[in-house]
Amino acid sequence: MASSAAVPFWRAAGMTYITYSNICANLVRNCLKEPFKAEALSREKVHFSISKWADGKPEKPILRSDTPGV
């Protein structure tokens, strides 16, 4: 089996396509003019809660309201 063709630089650095694509999208959003920029950033806001499990029981959850690009 021949080794695959030259991989893109981000794949060689261990990044997946989704990460690459999301970084590109965030960079474009950050360069928008004002009303569009605010809309785009509010649209892409993510709220999630993570809880680690130990001994079959969830520990206290961490709530995160990340702004994009973080």
């Binding site: 060689a12 950050n30 003019k33």
Partner: protein, 203 residues
């Protein structure tokens, strides 16, 4: 009894499929060739069970390719949060593929193209609409339908040139000072995206 089934399937499918796969390479119909030798061997081994269905029997037939090249290209341009163009009939689209700007006309060879940050333009008569696309994919089908998906696509007027310049300078600096592979990759992505936006605004 079922342990034999998988051996049976693989044995007779490989024997028959080497012929049938090449025969139906460009077929637009569903393979109605339910492999009869397999069905017979199955009935001998498991007469009370229906032969298993194969994935291809669940598939809808491919939309047929028109015999003459259509005059218009149908474009579906979608973003995760909106459908920019849906079934729009246009004359041509130029997409920023990783292999270069690709012009797509009706009757284009079926292609899957990965897009790089760049300008996508939709040509309808004398009307040209341009979008800056952050990245995505374009699927060009044999029946002159183009499905273009992007994560972010903005009209060029919405991009702020001064922020693009600032970003370009910032990422060029980051690229020079980056240490780990990952940092270098991220800085490189920043440089590429901002240069593409720059070129789009000035070109």
């Amino acid at each position: 009894m079922l342990r034999q089934a998988s051996r049976l399937i693989s044995r007779s499918v490989t024997a028959a499929s080497s012929k049938s796969v090449t025969a139906r390479a460009f077929s637009t119909e569903l393979p109605s060739t339910i492999d009869s030798t397999f069905v017979e061997s199955w009935k001998k081994v498991a007469p009370n069970m229906d032969p298993p269905r194969t994935p291809s029997s669940f598939m809808k037939p491919r939309p047929s390719t028109a015999s003459s090249i259509p005059t218009k290209l149908t474009v579906n341009f979608v973003l995760p949060y909106a459908s920019e163009l849906s079934g729009k009939e246009v004359d041509m689209v130029i997409i920023p593929a990783t292999t270069g700007q690709m012009g797509v006309l009706p009757g284009h060879v079926p292609t899957i193209a990965e897009l790089k940050p760049g300008i996508m333009s939709v040509h309808e008569g004398t009307d040209i609409k341009k979008y800056f696309v952050s990245s995505g994919f374009a699927f060009l089908h044999a029946n002159s339908v183009a499905d273009i998906i992007a994560v972010e696509a903005v009209p060029l007027e919405n991009i702020d040139a001064s922020q693009v310049q600032k970003g370009l300078v910032e990422f060029t600096q980051k690229l020079a000072s980056a240490s780990t592979d990952l940092e270098k990759a991220e800085a490189q992505i920043g440089v590429e995206v901002h240069s593409a936006m720059n070129a789009a605004l000035s070109g």
